[in-house]
């Protein structure tokens, strides 16, 4: 399918009727979806006859696009039931039906809790040998696919949500993760992907303008243009079987633990910064008062 054709197909899809601010639901624009799908399909052969997961599927633009581009199987995951219903409505408009499977799951929560879980598991490590009943699981069991497409929240509302999405996507992907991030965070994403998450490679494969319509009250302008990078990230090699844990997997887990700590640090520093600003403001106010 040619880019123009794909774009016009995606143009007709319905977008969020009532987007949820806490989940940072912005519909992927047809242009953006077309671009990433074409790069993935034509330059890297990551779509055709491959299994694909659309993480944070929303109204299904990427999932439907992937299916139209010849993906063998597409699974859409989202935490929002309403979005999945709307995605379903979009799927229904095709004839014959588009086979996209949907599933409700909260990956951000799983990634966040992972750290706490790990601590508890370590206590049992010594006695776990040989006793299958006492063996604690090393990680959650994640859905797996060749390629993971995700238009993650930018993490401006839920701090660290973008990185949590990335971490989850890398757990699920066997060949590649395609993700969008603000161009302003390029260095940070590079660092997170390679150093923290152990990615084999992380490259910006396209740069785009992303026109965000004013759908929430806090935007002043009608449309805000954001510059985004399309990333292609190769995840670290995975253990062949679900139960195997080789060095790579362990290293990956270690990195993930570091990451969780890092997210907390960031949240802390953000909070401190806010406090400082508040103090400054209150100082100013008191100065003013004196002058009068």
């Amino acid at each position: 399918m040619k880019p123009k054709q794909l774009e016009s197909e995606l143009q007709d899809l319905k977008t969020f009727s009532t987007p949820k601010q806490n989940l940072e639901q912005y519909a992927t624009t047809p242009l953006l979806a077309t671009r990433v799908l074409h790069v993935a399909a034509v330059e890297f052969d990551d779509i055709e006859e491959k299994s694909v997961i659309d993480l944070g599927v929303g109204t299904g633009v990427l999932a439907i696009g992937a299916k139209l581009m010849g993906a063998g199987h597409v699974l859409g995951i989202d935490v929002d039931r309403d979005a999945l219903e709307e995605c379903k409505e979009n799927l229904e408009t095709y004839e014959p039906e588009l086979e996209v499977e949907l599933c409700l799951m909260d990956v951000v929560e799983l990634i966040r809790r992972y750290d706490d879980d790990e601590d508890e598991e370590e206590e049992d490590v010594e006695e776990e040998e040989g006793k299958s009943e006492n063996v604690k699981r090393k990680d959650y069991v994640w859905p797996r696919a060749d390629t993971v497409l995700t238009n993650p929240p930018f993490g401006t509302r839920r701090k660290g949500a973008d990185v949590a999405f990335l971490a989850a996507a890398m757990k699920m992907a066997e060949t590649a993760v395609y993700s969008f991030h603000k161009t302003s965070t390029r260095e940070y994403i590079q660092k997170v992907a390679v150093k923290k998450l152990g990615a084999k490679s992380a490259k910006v494969v396209a740069e785009m303008k992303y026109g965000l319509k004013n759908q929430y009250g806090h935007h002043r302008k009608e449309e805000v243009e954001v510059f985004v990078d399309v990333w292609r990230i190769e995840p670290p090699p995975k253990a062949a079987k679900r139960d195997d844990n080789d060095d790579d997997a362990e290293m990956f887990e270690q990195n993930l633990r570091d990451l969780a700590a890092n997210i907390e640090e960031l949240q802390l520093s953000a909070r401190q910064r806010k406090d400082k600003e508040r103090n400054k403001n209150s100082n100013k106010n008191s100065n003013n008062r004196r002058r009068w």
């Binding site: 299994s51 199987h73 935490v79 499977e101 599933c103 069991v141 859905p143």
Partner: protein
């Protein structure tokens, strides 16, 4: 058709839709294509119970109250590709639970086992294709083999969300 119409009626949207669509034929056509995203065994093969403390939350037992078969385009290459990724044991178990076992072998046969019998091999691939992508669970629930935690399949979407005390 009558099955999906029944499910369709139960949704709240039906009134809205009927009002919106004056053309009754259009309504009926839409009904026939309602719920395209039924759970297939391929997605089931990827899902597990991640409730805290559960070690062997895989594979989930399927309790289906409504099963449908939808035709799906056969792509041999893709099935061969997926054979390398599937958890075959979990797949066979799931097949039995939805009555779609169709005498699939206990282990994945190698391509060489079929030798020059291309047709036989394709027959096998088509069987896998059918069970993997054409049999769909419309209603029911998935059950964790260890804790018995039930994950409902609501409106054809498996709900794997966990409660706060479960993560």
């Amino acid at each position: 058709m009558s099955l999906s119409f029944g499910v369709f009626l139960r949704t709240q949207k039906v009134t809205k839709r009927l009002v919106k669509t004056t053309n009754i034929r259009g309504v009926l056509q839409r009904c026939a294509y309602t719920y395209t995203s039924k759970m297939r065994l391929l997605a089931h093969n990827m899902l597990a119970c991640n409730v805290k403390g559960v070690v062997n939350g895989y594979p989930l037992t399927i309790h289906a109250t409504k099963i449908e078969t939808n035709e799906s385009e056969f792509n041999g290459n893709f099935i061969v590709h997926m054979l390398g990724k599937l958890d075959w044991g979990a797949f066979l178990k799931a097949c039995k639970e939805v009555n779609a076992s169709e005498d699939l072998p206990e282990e994945i046969p190698s391509r060489d086992a079929f030798g020059t019998e291309e047709e036989q091999y394709e027959m096998f691939l088509r069987k896998v294709h059918h069970a993997l992508l054409e049999v769909t669970v419309v209603e029911g629930h998935l059950e964790c083999p260890e804790s018995g935690r039930k994950f409902p399949i609501e409106n054809t979407i498996p709900n794997m969300l966990l409660n706060e005390d479960e993560v």
